[in-house]
């Protein structure tokens, strides 16, 4: 699946490993939370970047301190209506101070891209053929925001008071 990060398409350095599949010898691997718990020590010993893919009902707090050993946390959107991921991303950034990649995958809509970026996502798995221009357009439609979030963007109140 194409991956957008830093404003352009990038090669995905990670491979998603199914729960039953063997871990590859080398390279970044993304596993489920279940698999991560089961094979935590093996994964840590692999000496390769680790990612965990969270279902929408799995809070990143369940990762405990291990979150800081991860390179990427993938958050699933099983349906666009399921907005828990927005809170999970923000929690990763502002409570857990996670500085790695927070990646959105699943059924999010064009019109949610700006909200994803605001709440702390910085990587996006998009459908095949999704135009980059559209991604960028989604971010440009609303130039100012009323409330602080995880992106550190100046709010309208900041702008009013000349900050």
């Amino acid at each position: 699946m194409p991956l957008i990060k830093g404003g352009s398409f990038v090669a995905d350095p990670f491979v998603l490993i199914a729960d039953e599949a063997p871990l590859p010898d080398v390279g970044g691997a993304i596993v489920s939370l279940t698999r991560f718990r089961k094979d935590r020590d093996t994964l840590m010993a692999r000496n390769a970047p680790i990612g965990v893919r969270l279902k929408s009902d799995e809070s990143p707090e369940q990762l405990g301190d291990d979150v800081h050993r991860l390179s990427v946390v993938v958050i699933e959107f099983p349906a666009f209506r399921d907005g828990r991921g927005f809170s999970w991303a923000r929690m990763l950034r502002t409570r857990l101070n996670f500085t790695g990649e927070v990646r959105a995958t699943g059924a999010f809509l064009y019109d949610q891209i700006a909200y994803l970026v605001r709440t702390g996502f910085d990587a996006f798995e998009v459908p095949d053929g999704f135009p980059l221009a559209e991604f960028n357009r989604a971010l440009a439609e609303m130039s100012a925001v009323y409330q602080p979030s995880a992106d550190g963007k100046k709010t309208i109140r900041d702008l009013r008071s000349g900050k």
């Binding site: 809070s59 666009f80 209506r81 399921d82 907005g83 828990r84 927005f86 809170s87 923000r90 502002t94 409570r95 809509l109 019109d111 949610q112 700006a114 909200y115 994803l116 605001r118 709440t119 439609e141 609303m142 130039s143 100012a144 925001v145 009323y146 409330q147 602080p148 979030s149 309208i156 109140r157 702008l159 009013r160 008071s161």
Partner: protein
């Protein structure tokens, strides 16, 4: 009242442009209805039984004359010459064409209005006491904090896809005119023991198929902390609210499952963290800046006497004019409940004429009440006779505010896609039965609220007499509920028993009222009598005819 600055104006203009693009993509076929649906809903556009319906936000129910004229213009140009004021202080237009909606939104933006978040699973338009800034019993005008909440909640990136819709109400009086305890979240302005003003926050109220009365989650939240506190509640809800069943997704279900103590613990955990970050604190300068927009008009020194007038005028004064904080001034309710009319409807001509009336009498704002009436908040008492005369000409002087014919009704099966039964004809029938004004005065305060389905948009759970339309094998039936209240003594009405047919419900209501008149003691309202004697005598009377018929 609040005025957009350059930032607010740009925000709304960009939103209109964005939606124009979305409509174009829909009309060209690039988006299908499934993909378009969440986008249009976020902009207040529903697809109803017969047509699109556009719901326009009236933040905390406050409109200027200029805005009211624009609503008249929209009714005339894009609709069928009328609009419908709702129980959430909004206005709905029932017949717009999709292709026109971006132009309607642009027209609205030109008078600092929008339809953002009037639908969808997000924080909806914030409502407030319709007597705000004018009521004699008010601690502070609730609209500044409502405006601060409106801005904070506008396209909040974390809370636009909540488990379900989320409604916030604000009030600044001990007397609750905003139905606080039936809201997902409510902010009540209170004074603490040492005289500081802050906020009491309630969560978990709601109607629908599982009604609950909200409970207190924050006893006294400091002014600067209010957004941090509200955001904490939202985050608890977004993480833990149920998403497996649409009927159990409102925060009332979570609030009831957690209970007050656990809810407080979870909220406080978020609150401590958010407050420590400091980014959501509302600085005093910002509070003062917003407060200034809502400064009351300069009240003249006027005699406090009520002007004399004929019996019609006296009748109107009796129910539709209320005590104002300033001597020589009054609050006037404009009833949108003419006997036999559609509750909450106003024509383009009426809206234009009201705007003219506001200009004539230097009334700078008008309110929409959750009881589907309009309110002139600051009226010189000496102007009341002339205002009454003009309202009479416009068919807007029905002297029934708070009386039995001042009925709340949802649009029901005449318009709504969700309804099981019609509401409007039932309201019209009941109003006609009680049209006699002396009889209405004898009955006194009695709030009838009618919903055409279990979603309870007509607030039937909170009616002194509540009526719920249900569908039984393709036939409309109406259940009676007694003893509900949306005021500070909030309660959920009790269901009486089997429903009544569409031709039986009116007579049944008459018998219930007759029972009250027989049972009441000195000074008791219907609600007081019901609370004293309970359901049984009312039930016996209501089903009387059926009992005879059965034997």
């Amino acid at each position: 009242m609040y005025r957009y600055d350059e930032f607010d104006a740009k925000f709304v203009a960009e939103r209109v442009a964005q939606f124009r693009g979305q409509v174009q993509r829909r009309l060209s076929g690039e988006l299908n209805e499934d993909q378009f649906k969440p986008l249009r809903l976020m902009n207040g556009l529903y697809l109803q039984l017969h047509a699109y319906m556009l719901r326009i936000a009236v933040p905390y129910g406050t409109l200027s004359a200029r805005q009211l004229r624009m609503l008249a213009h929209i009714a005339r140009k894009y609709d069928r010459g009328y609009g419908h004021f709702t129980t959430r202080q909004n206005i709905q237009f029932n017949w717009p064409k999709l292709v026109d909606v971006p132009d309607i939104l642009a027209d609205l933006a030109s008078v600092e209005m929008h339809a953002i978040q009037t639908s969808g699973n997000c924080i909806r338009n914030v409502t407030a006491d319709h007597f705000a800034g004018a009521a004699a019993d008010e601690i502070e005008d609730p609209r500044p904090i409502a405006e601060i909440i409106r801005q904070w909640s506008s396209l909040h990136p974390e809370f636009v896809f909540l488990p379900r819709k989320f409604k916030i109400a604000v009030s600044g009086s001990a007397h609750d005119r905003a139905a606080l305890k039936f809201h997902d979240m409510a902010v009540e302005i209170v004074k603490n023991a040492i005289g500081e003003v802050g906020y009491r926050v309630l969560v978990g109220g709601g109607m629908g198929r599982t009604p609950y009365i909200g409970y207190v989650v924050g006893e006294f939240v400091a002014k600067q902390d209010i957004l941090a506190f509200l955001e904490s509640v939202m985050r608890v809800y977004n993480q833990s609210g149920r998403r497996d069943n649409i009927y159990k997704a409102r925060i009332k279900i979570l609030a009831n499952a957690l209970g007050p103590e656990e809810m407080k613990n979870q909220v406080m955990r978020e609150f401590t963290e958010i407050r420590a970050r400091g980014t959501l604190q509302v600085p005093d300068e910002e509070l003062a800046r917003i407060d200034a927009y809502f400064a009351p008009p300069e009240f003249e020194e006027l005699p406090d006497d009520m002007p004399a007038g004929d019996k019609d005028f006296q009748n109107w004064i009796k129910t539709n004019v209320h005590k104002h904080r300033a001597p020589g001034y009054a609050i006037a309710t404009i009833s949108l409940k003419p006997i036999g009319g559609v509750p909450g409807d106003a024509s383009d001509a009426q809206m234009d004429a009201l705007a003219d009336l506001m200009d004539t009498f230097a009334i700078t704002e008008i309110r929409v009440s959750h009881e589907q009436n309009l309110v002139l908040p600051h009226v010189r008492k000496r102007d009341l006779p002339a205002i009454f005369a003009r309202l009479s000409e416009l068919g807007l002087a029905t002297p029934n505010a708070g009386l039995i014919t001042d009925i709340i009704a949802c649009p029901g099966l005449d318009y709504c896609d969700l309804a099981n039964a019609r509401s409007i004809p039932i309201a019209q029938d009941i109003a006609k039965r009680f049209a006699d004004l002396d009889r209405q005065h004898d009955i006194g305060e009695l709030k009838i609220k009618i919903s055409g389905c279990i979603n309870a948009c007509g607030h039937h759970h909170a009616g002194h007499i509540g009526i719920l339309g249900v569908d039984k094998k393709g036939v409309e039936y109406y259940q009676l509920q007694l003893g509900g209240s949306g005021a500070e003594d909030a309660s959920i009405g009790d269901i009486m028993g089997p429903g009544f047919g569409e031709h039986e419900i009116g007579p049944a209501v008459e018998r219930v009222v007759k029972a009250y008149l027989m049972l009441r003691q000195d000074g008791e309202r219907f609600l007081d009598t019901y609370r004293r004697v309970g359901m049984e005598p009312f039930k016996n009377m209501a089903y009387l005819d059926q009992l005879y018929a059965a034997h």
